[in-house]
């Protein structure tokens, strides 16, 4: 479901961006080209108008490529914006002064779309687009002042074209931005909902797992109590050992706190449970909840030797995990008589270092990973 929503949001971003390019393209081919070709004779310098049309096309192509690739305007737009405004000036210059506000002067109504494409979805798109459109309007106004085209009709024409153009260009950009922002909000919301679902599922699993283990302990306690009620000797070594083992399991359940099981801890818990089913007395201080994210290969190398030591324990084992943001150390001390040990540290390809030590009938296996 999240993927669907993310795809919709991506499509919104992509197609609204390409929409700007399509509008600019249609406008430029349908209107600008027609006017340039059909009104060739009306220009003072038609070649300059044609060159301006080509430069406009080149800028539009560059912007379209960027929009297609990243749904965003080009990274460096200053030069392109200056070139776009130069197109505006070139068309004004190419026209006869009397045609300044006539049909032939297509530049000032059209370059605004280049501004829309260039500033599209950039971090400061509002400022950049408004500055560009203001510069375009300013250039035209300056041309009117220079040519003395300041009669009421001309000013009215100027205002109609400028206001109309800016309304369309800014309106389209702002509308699409709102659409995109809402789509992104939907993605964020969907992700949050999915995270909540995952958390709930994980909590449910932990809860179910704890209930299962509580049940197992209850069965063990019930059996012990029955034995005691039937006359088992509390001083008997085996009875006392079973009582201690049950108390340790219960204590571990009480101190477990993590809400989301860590993969490394989950494996250790599973092996501890298995060892306890074999009536091994396992002590394991709380593992803590701040283990760093580990690559699978590191996790496997960290666990392999300690788990082997635990699996082969004869009657007792101690399992510890120490972790910092850049280090994880897993250790097992067990009365494992069969584990082959290396006298020198073993360096795994993942960077994990495993050391072994035998002392007083116990083996100490310690694997350590340190961030490179």
């Amino acid at each position: 479901m999240i993927e669907d929503i993310e795809q919709v949001a991506q499509r919104y971003a992509r197609y609204t961006a390409l929409g700007a390019a399509v509008i600019a393209g249609f406008w430029h081919v349908g209107y600008d080209l027609t006017v340039t070709v059909a009104g060739w004779r009306d220009f003072r310098w038609p070649v300059a108008a044609a060159a301006a049309w080509i430069v406009y096309t080149a800028i539009a192509v560059i912007a379209t490529l960027s929009l297609a690739r990243t749904s965003r305007g080009p990274a460096r737009i200053r030069e392109l914006a200056v070139a776009a405004l130069a197109v505006d000036v070139a068309v004004i210059v190419a026209c006869r002064p009397g045609d300044l506000l006539g049909v032939s002067d297509w530049g000032w109504g059209s370059v605004g779309w280049l501004g829309v494409m260039l500033a599209w979805n950039r971090p400061r798109w509002r400022t950049e687009l408004i500055a560009f459109l203001a510069a375009n309007a300013g250039i035209m106004l300056a041309a009117m002042v220079v040519t003395g085209t300041l009669d009421r009709v001309s000013i009215a024409k100027y205002l109609v074209v400028i206001v109309g153009g800016i309304t369309m260009q800014l309106g389209y950009t702002a509308g699409c931005h709102t659409l995109r922002a809402r789509a992104e909000d939907a993605v964020v919301l969907a992700r949050r909902l999915a995270a909540d679902d995952a958390w709930r599922e994980s909590a449910r699993r932990i809860h179910a797992d704890r209930l299962r283990r509580y049940d197992a302990i209850r069965d063990a306690a019930e059996s012990l109590l029955k034995q005691l009620a039937d006359g088992a000797d509390p001083g008997d070594h085996r009875v006392r050992r079973d009582c201690t083992a049950g108390a340790m399991r219960l204590r571990r359940l009480i101190t477990e706190r993590e809400e989301v099981p860590d993969a490394l801890v989950a494996v250790l818990r599973e092996r501890i449970d298995a060892a306890e089913r074999r009536r091994i007395l396992v002590t394991a201080p709380p593992f803590g909840g701040n283990l760093p994210e580990l690559p699978a290969a590191v996790r496997e190398d960290l666990l392999r030797a300690p788990v082997r030591a635990l699996d082969g324990a004869r009657s007792r084992a101690r399992v510890t995990v120490s972790a910092m943001s850049t280090m994880v150390s897993v250790a097992v001390v067990a009365d494992n008589d069969d584990l082959p040990v290396s006298a020198t540290p073993v360096r795994e390809p993942s960077g994990v270092v495993v050391t072994y030590q035998r002392q007083g009938g116990e083996v100490w296996v310690n694997s350590i990973w340190q961030a490179p």
Partner: protein
């Protein structure tokens, strides 16, 4: 109360008050301390209030009393100069650091405690000597907070190995050094930790004794006052500085 180290040899058994709400644990601890022995249980109760006012060298405190964690009350207990040893199954490094920061002298993990290790810790604490139990070693070694003490690589390694191995002798073998040197690394780390923490009279005693025993020099405790001054937690009564 508790001036053996400064005033001379201990003349009688070390007195202990126990706060614990589980009768089975109380009975276990009582059997550990049964006379004749170096430690005498002089008071016991299921709440902190039930033993307050009892003169005891050491207060042995369970953290979870009737379902409520009393971590927040450790500072108040230590503030009067009472030596507090926390005795709990909540051995998570964050919890251990919280009680040590509050001024507790030691933390004994219920999961691994034995009579001998427990007595050793109580005797050390009563004499204001540094004592580092495995859960404390883990908590000090993995501290990554900004104001943590600066431990040397060997001090940190000794702490981690002490937490994860079977004995200090095995740590010595692993590091290729003498057991006495391992103890020195671990004790120095504990002293540094006390020096870098919040002020508490029990920590001052520990630092004074560490200086008397030559474990650290007075000028090595300067971090204590500078940190207290920086955090604006009142005048830093920097022991030995």
């Amino acid at each position: 109360m508790g001036q053996q180290h400064l005033a001379g040899p201990v003349t009688g058994p070390v007195t202990v008050a126990l706060v614990e709400d589980h009768q089975v644990v109380v009975d276990g601890v009582r059997s550990w301390f049964s006379p004749p022995g170096p430690v005498e249980l002089v008071a016991q109760g299921p709440t902190i209030e039930s033993v307050l006012g009892t003169a005891a060298d050491v207060l042995l405190l369970d953290l979870n009393l009737n379902g409520t964690m009393v971590v927040g009350r450790v500072a108040e207990l230590c503030q009067g100069g009472q030596r507090v040893i926390v005795f709990s199954e909540h051995e998570e490094p964050e919890t251990v650091r919280a009680v040590l920061d509050a001024g507790a002298s030691a933390f004994i993990g219920k999961g691994r405690a034995t009579r001998d290790s427990c007595l050793e810790t109580i005797m050390d604490v009563a004499a204001d000597r540094p004592n580092v139990t495995p859960p404390m070693a883990q908590a000090i070694a993995t501290d990554e907070r900004p104001h943590r003490p600066q431990l040397s690589d060997k001090e940190r390694a000794a702490l981690l190995f002490w937490f994860q191995s079977m004995s200090k002798a095995s740590v010595a073998a692993r590091m290729g050094i003498k057991e006495r040197t391992v103890r020195q690394y671990i004790d120095r780390a504990r002293i540094k930790y006390a020096a870098a923490g919040r002020p508490a009279p029990t920590k001052e005693k520990l630092l004074i004794c560490a200086i008397q025993d030559g474990l650290i020099r007075p000028d090595e405790v300067t971090v204590y006052t500078s940190l207290a001054a920086r955090s604006g937690e009142g005048p830093g009564a920097g022991a030995g500085s």
